[in-house]
């Protein structure tokens, strides 16, 4: 049994936690795993292919209830925990956060430790996404509008992007409001754009950059470009991700040069 399986199995058999969420081998790629017994932990794996953002389960009451659980997550899961904690969506007392760093099974004992890890282990950016941003940046406004209208025209509004994102935890999403109906819920070029624009706006300054929205999209729509670009813009205009919640703080020094 691997070190990871051993350590996690011990957490369960000692009764420290009721559930371990990690990764296991799936049909082609790793997928989220839920371990309720020490034997279940034998399935746990950890490698560069483990991409799902397990943070998405931390706000699902029907999965975690009021129990103490452990999560063996990747870099982005750790970043997600920090953000969810900032937004008062999780109880850190009920969470044992772990990761695997090289050969080591790491258990974080504080938010500071998590922050330190995040600061020192940032993965390389996705070159394809950066290249796409560069290309679109060079377009005129009309070209950009046409690009996105076309790129999003085949969207079926399955909301896999929303479902895979750990920070999309609203019980009633804006697109599910019908009184008033802010965004038309049926697939059409304009309303598909409205949906993505809105999703990105609501992610402002909160997105941890895991790219799972784009990975989840069954049609491979280029929506990872939007979250990345938003992150870049937010950093330039309001400071880095650590400097406070963009959506809920206001400073008199905030630049407003985007209002033309």
């Amino acid at each position: 049994m691997s070190k990871l399986s051993e350590k996690t199995a011990a957490l369960l058999s000692e009764g420290t936690v009721k559930l371990i969420i990690g990764y296991e081998q799936g049909t082609e790629h790793p997928r989220p795993a839920f371990c309720h017994t020490p034997e279940d932990c034998e399935r746990l794996i950890f490698n560069d292919e483990c991409k799902n953002n397990l943070g998405v389960y931390l706000t699902k009451k029907e999965i975690i209830g009021e129990d103490k659980i452990a999560v063996v997550g990747n870099y982005f899961v750790i970043k997600t925990v920090i953000q969810l904690n900032r937004e008062n969506q999780i109880n850190l007392d009920n969470l044992v956060l772990m990761t695997v760093d090289g050969d080591e099974v790491v258990t974080f004992s504080s938010i500071d430790e998590m922050q330190q890890y995040v600061d020192t282990h940032e993965p390389a950016p996705n070159e394809k996404v950066l290249a796409a941003i560069e290309k679109i940046d060079k377009m005129s406004r009309e070209e950009r509008w046409a690009y996105w209208k076309n790129a999003l025209s085949t969207c079926v509004r399955c909301y896999a992007c929303r479902a895979a994102c750990p920070l999309c935890y609203c019980n009633r999403c804006i697109v599910e409001d019908n009184c008033p109906q802010w965004i038309e819920p049926w697939s059409a070029p304009l309303s598909n754009m409205e949906w993505q624009i809105n999703r990105i706006m609501h992610m402002s300054g909160r997105c941890v950059g895991c790219g799972e929205c784009a990975a989840a999209c069954p049609l491979d729509l280029p929506i990872g470009i939007l979250t990345k670009k938003m992150g870049i813009d937010i950093k330039q205009t309001f400071g880095g991700w650590k400097d406070g919640s963009v959506l809920s703080t206001y400073s008199i020094d905030d630049k407003e040069n985007f209002i033309k």
Partner: protein
Amino acid sequence: MERLIIKSDNIGTWLAKIIDSVPRVLAPVKDGDKAEFKSIKSADGVDYDSQTTISSVKAAAFPRTETLFAYEKEGMETKLYNVAEDNFVETVIWRARPCDAVGFKPLTSIFNWDYKDELYNQRYDKIAIVTFACTSADKCCFCTSVGGGPGNTEGSDIQVTMIDKEKTLVEVLTDKGEKLVALAKDLFTAAEDSIDKEKALADIPAKFTKEQIHENLAKAFDSPVWKAQSERCLGCGACAFVCPTCACFDIQEDAHGNHGRRVRCWDSCGFSLFTQHTSGHNPRPTQATRWRQRIMHKFSYMPDRLNVYGCTGCGRCSRACPVDMNIAEHLTSIANSSHE
């Protein structure tokens, strides 16, 4: 049923004739490393390599968004307008898979169950389907476990099987198929009896039987298997929307002041608010209950009520799922255990 041979090299020529003869031909086109059905204007650019497309081709008869009727309010009066006939376009679906053709069967059943949905019928009646039998399969395919197969001709107007680099078998199954062959009849010769279709087909061992599933599902309503299988499910609609047989839809109002249209659009029983009442009461409040509904509806309720199966084993749901809810894996587990 007529068995013909066409030179494998001539398939493109035949397709070009088909493209000239109908307003719309849908065929798999590659975009990056994924293929999707697109409207084609030339025989070049059709993808013959990918196992199958990401989305099914059900949109040809059951569009993502569809006008049900238009309305106009003038003072106290309201006028309603039916959908214009030119919305229903003659279509050939090219290089679909057997699991696509058979997927229209449950759709046709639902849309004609007592009340005839003429919007669906008019579209479906104008479709001719040319399927290409599967000479390979991937890890998510399981058509043989649900009464289908790589060479299943049910629902096809023509089935094309590549026998080898030179010869391709063309099985003409319906009048619609005959018309398509007649467009290029010089390209076809009769197939000898010795042409063996079965040998060319992919070998897809069945993982379970429909009977096993039906029997075990009948006693599985309160089983803990639903929670266990659905724990990682994110509740998105990807599986329902790529599925060739999922037909659940929403009805919405596209209102613009005094006029507008009533539309229907795809919906998914996996969404948390699918069954929620205005009062806030939700009969299926957990992902486990919704996962159970998906499986029961496809493999138990539909066979019992409509005598038709709600799954073709195409595996699209499993490929599209962000968390690998491999339906064949889940069904095999249900088939092999007794869930009391």
